[in-house]
């Protein structure tokens, strides 16, 4: 298992480089938007990866509440942290793309807005984890994750209906996509997913070690103190 990680990490780096090459040089230029459109290959896969990670967080949280399995809690923490990173990428690339193309920084586009709310929910999740006493944090965080997950469909519906009342520009357009672009998009998504796995894996190991040290310290350190 120890060997697997560096090998996987190197492969991921290669895949990312290849995906970059595909996105910037190989993919065809978009008719109306020009080169700026290439940010699409970062914006969309980041979003999919973020949503996937938040789903992992939900599953891990439910497992933790049901079984009190400490590893599930570590998975929940790790997937939330990495998920927030990818979510931030989506929120930053969105306006960067929107401004030159549509002339506005932000739009209450359904996907972008849902992403924003998800980001807010998971940042509040991370703040809760940071601010609460370590013995009870896993339980409280898992409960919050479930609340967040229940909220997401409601957020989606409320924005969807709002937009039918107040039409807004849509970032990225709705229509069909050129199969060559789809191909590049999928390559980038694969690369991003692997990158997410690398980050989660490394963070997971780090957190496990950190907790083992904490536990050992707690049980052993007082031995020198007791008379």
């Amino acid at each position: 298992m120890k060997r697997a990680f560096p090998i996987f990490a190197i492969l991921t780096a290669l895949l990312l480089a290849y995906a970059f090459y595909q996105a910037i040089w190989v993919a065809p230029m978009e008719r109306t938007m020009g080169d700026v459109q290439r940010i699409f290959y970062y914006h969309v896969p980041s979003a999919w990866t973020a949503f996937l990670l938040f789903f992992v967080n939900l599953v891990a949280s439910v497992i933790y509440l049901a079984r009190r399995n400490p590893r599930a809690d570590v998975v929940a923490l790790v997937s939330a942290e990495v998920g927030v990173v990818f979510c931030t990428v989506v929120l930053v690339t969105g306006p960067i793309w929107a401004r030159p193309v549509w002339g506005i920084w932000w739009t209450w586009d359904i996907r972008l807005t849902t992403t924003l709310v998800l980001w807010l929910i998971y940042v509040s999740y991370l703040v809760l984890r940071r601010f609460s006493d370590s013995s009870q944090t896993p339980k409280l965080a898992a409960v919050l994750a479930i609340f967040g997950a229940l909220d997401v469909p409601l957020v989606y519906f409320s924005i969807w209906f709002f937009r039918t009342q107040h039409p807004q520009p849509v970032i990225g357009g709705g229509g069909s996509i050129d199969p060559r672009m789809l191909h590049v998009l999928l390559i980038n998504w694969l690369a991003f997913s692997c990158f997410a796995i690398v980050l989660c894996w490394a963070r997971y190991r780090l957190e496990r070690l950190h907790r083992e040290v904490e536990e050992a310290e707690g049980l052993e350190s007082l031995r020198g103190v007791s008379r």
Binding site: V117, V127, L128, S132, Q136, L140, V155, S158, F162
Partner: protein
Amino acid sequence: MSSLRSITVATLTKDIRLEWRSKDALNSMLFFSLLVVVIFSFSFDPNAEESREIAGGLIWVAFLFAAVVALNQTWARELRNQVLDAYRVSPAPATALFLAKALGNFILVSLLEALMAPLFVIFYNLRALGPAWQLIPVALLGTWALVVNGTFFAAMSLRTRSREIMLPLLLFPISIPAVQSMVEATRIILAGDGSARFWIVLLLTYDVVFTTACLGLFETVLQAE
């Protein structure tokens, strides 16, 4: 089940009695609500045309801030003298405690709204061009949406540092669909601009989903030390 109801009622009456006896908290909350309305009026010039457009948003944001102040208060009472421990060691169910606190908060926040709403109407010269009676279900469902999650997250915040800031931090993101529904529904009713039915149904759905979640998960939060 009868013990659940009787414990909920007993806890609620106890809370009302305690709130009544320490009127300072109530009075300062009422005054705070008044201040919020006045500050909003200074910040958002109540010209008749625009005011009806933004009144829906303003009034609910004002209620949200007043609610957060109230919500932070109600658990504080259980921490003095560690009384919450006495509840936790008893056989009384956690859900009864939650319901009692949520209902108490609902009454308190409704009281604040009953004070603030007429002031808004006066300062902004509001008139409902649509069916005004619909504002009642919107107010009831909307207030419950804020209060049910607010009570739950206030209990969660008890176990954290920076307790007072934790509550709005946790509550605001999760409340976004509810706040949007309340604001849109109010705007539609005041402006007479279509049907608010979708938003009322969404509020109802929000309330059902989160009331169930709160009742189901409160035990876990209560027993967290």
